[in-house]
């Protein structure tokens, strides 16, 4: 979802007062959706030893950690969690004035022969997932790539489908949807909010 966010305004609105918005999922609903997705991942992948969760920052990171905890609780499997920043693989960098901040990439295990499950918070155009797949291929040759999107907004611009969806949310392309921490950081309780159309332009 990184690619749908204007470069200057991070999805975590920092110290700005959080703008009001309609809550689409609260923390309990997020946990419930992730637990269901964890079951679906186990159902789809018999060989759990190959699983590798790879989060797309920032929002994918706490979600992937929760998914890993769920998988460990349900099936007693320890699934490694990686973080893959897609910024250097974006297709719109040259269209921007100031370049976006880079975020950490940490890939603790090799991706070769693994079933990589990409985890993102909000999927819209699919361009971030495209960038993530390209980035992933530079790290090796996964056996399979699957995608989790906590929120699927539609509006796809590339032929990319999600394997696991938390919630389908039909929205106007001008509205914005973000995952944020209720107390400002992504470590505590989370919520997904729908923010009204950004007057500055396409959000």
């Amino acid at each position: 979802m990184a690619q749908e966010t204007p470069p200057s305004s991070g999805r975590l609105r920092g110290s700005d007062p959080a703008p009001a918005g309609r809550t689409l999922l609260d923390d309990t609903a997020i946990t419930r959706a992730l637990t269901r997705i964890a079951h679906e991942i186990l159902e789809r992948n018999e060989d759990t030893s190959r699983l590798y969760l790879v989060a797309i920052p920032n929002g994918g990171v706490p979600l992937a950690r929760r998914l890993a905890a769920s998988l460990s609780q349900i099936a007693d499997v320890q699934v490694p969690v990686g973080v893959l920043d897609t910024t250097l693989y974006r297709d719109d960098l040259m269209l921007m004035g100031e370049r976006p901040l880079l975020r950490a990439t940490e890939m603790p295990s090799a991706v070769d022969e693994r079933v990589v499950v990409l985890v993102d918070d909000v999927v819209k155009t699919g361009r971030t997932i495209r960038a993530a797949m390209d980035a992933l291929m530079d790290f090796g040759r996964p056996r399979m790539v699957q995608v989790v999107g906590l929120i699927d907004r539609g509006h796809r611009e590339l032929p990319i489908k999600l394997d696991y969806v938390g919630k389908n949310v039909p929205t106007s392309p001008r509205e914005s949807v973000c995952l944020r921490g209720r107390d400002g950081g992504l470590d505590g309780p989370l919520e997904v909010v729908l923010l009204p159309a950004d007057p500055r332009g396409d959000a």
């Binding site: 250097l88 100031e98 370049r99 901040l101 880079l102 530079d138 790290f139």
Partner: protein, 314 residues
């Protein structure tokens, strides 16, 4: 807000420097991957326009550009045929007509990168101009210190050597002061520019005093063939008074690191064993140089120059 060109550290804000250093942290991680290449600048052209010879800096920019998937063209007009300012600008205009996405300029005369930036559409990165500035060297030095020490604020940095002729010293003085360090310079008196303390540094002619309590010691390259006789009696005497070795390093803090922009005159400004082993971090500086130049290219290359904005803004 980062400007169109990187001409010097003097006109960067602290936040710009922090932005570049933050970006370099992630670029260094790219350099540690098995595939050390990202598609960020694919289809972009970067011109290395080096009027003054350089192996290290040019190679460093070339590797940085290639790791970002840019096409890098090296262009080194011989200086003898380029004495006139007009021909420099002609060269620059010719290159500009080829639509580069960044032009990296080194020249033996101060101010040439700025003159070129004034006529080019492409962003200009200064890779060293005369005795003026060498911003990417200072940035990689700041980055190396940040990696070694955790932060730069509050550190004491001592720069030893030919402060008068050194663009590395000048850029580092601006950089370390902006990042909150205390900066000292030490050299034989003729190599200390008279008004240097107006920049906010302390000047010393005693190495011992300058090193007292230093966290970072940076030795500069001494062009002993050119300078011996007029600025100091002989290379041997310079080495005895201002050359760094392990015994003189005792005056600095116990965990002080030693830096050098390279290439080292072994036995002149740095003792042999010090050049090769900790606490010197010279090879880390080289490695970090690629990351810093990747960061600079990421942040500057391919950006449209905004009309109406002062072209000299950097």
């Amino acid at each position: 807000m980062i400007g169109s060109d990187l001409l010097g550290i003097e006109n960067l804000e602290r936040s710009d420097i922090e932005r570049i250093l933050h970006t370099a942290v992630h670029m260094r991680e790219v350099g540690e991957r098995e595939v050390k290449k990202v598609p960020t600048l694919r289809g972009r052209t970067i011109v290395n326009l080096f009027f003054e010879s350089s192996t290290r800096t040019r190679a460093s920019f070339e590797i940085a550009g290639k790791r970002l998937s840019a096409d890098v063209v090296n262009f080194s007009p011989s200086t003898s045929s380029m004495k006139k300012a007009e021909s420099i600008l002609d060269t620059a205009r010719t290159l500009d007509a080829m639509d580069p996405d960044a032009v990296i300029v080194r020249h033996e005369v101060s101010g040439v990168p700025k003159c070129i930036a004034d006529v080019l559409d492409a962003p200009v990165i200064n890779a060293g101009d005369g005795a003026h500035e060498h911003p990417t060297q200072a940035l990689l030095d700041l980055f190396t210190v940040q990696q070694e020490k955790g932060c730069i604020d509050g550190l004491t940095v001592t720069i030893v050597g030919d402060i008068l002729h050194s663009r590395v010293a000048r850029s580092n003085i601006y950089g370390f002061l902006k990042m909150g360090a205390e900066v000292r310079v030490a050299a034989p008196p003729p190599m200390i520019p008279p008004a240097i303390e107006e920049l906010g540094v302390k000047a010393y002619t005693s190495l011992r005093e300058a090193l007292d309590g230093a966290d970072v010691v940076m030795a500069l390259r001494i062009q002993s063939e050119r300078l011996a006789g007029s600025y100091f009696p002989s290379a041997r005497e310079y080495a005895a008074t201002f050359g760094l070795d392990r015994s003189k390093l005792h005056y600095a803090k116990e965990d002080a690191i030693v830096m050098h922009p390279g290439p080292v005159n072994r036995g002149v400004e740095l003792a042999h064993d010090l050049a090769d082993h900790r606490p010197s971090v010279i090879l880390d500086q080289v490695r970090n140089g690629v990351a810093i130049r990747m960061a600079v290219l990421y942040l500057y290359a391919g950006r449209k120059r905004e009309r109406g904005q002062s072209r000299s803004a950097s």
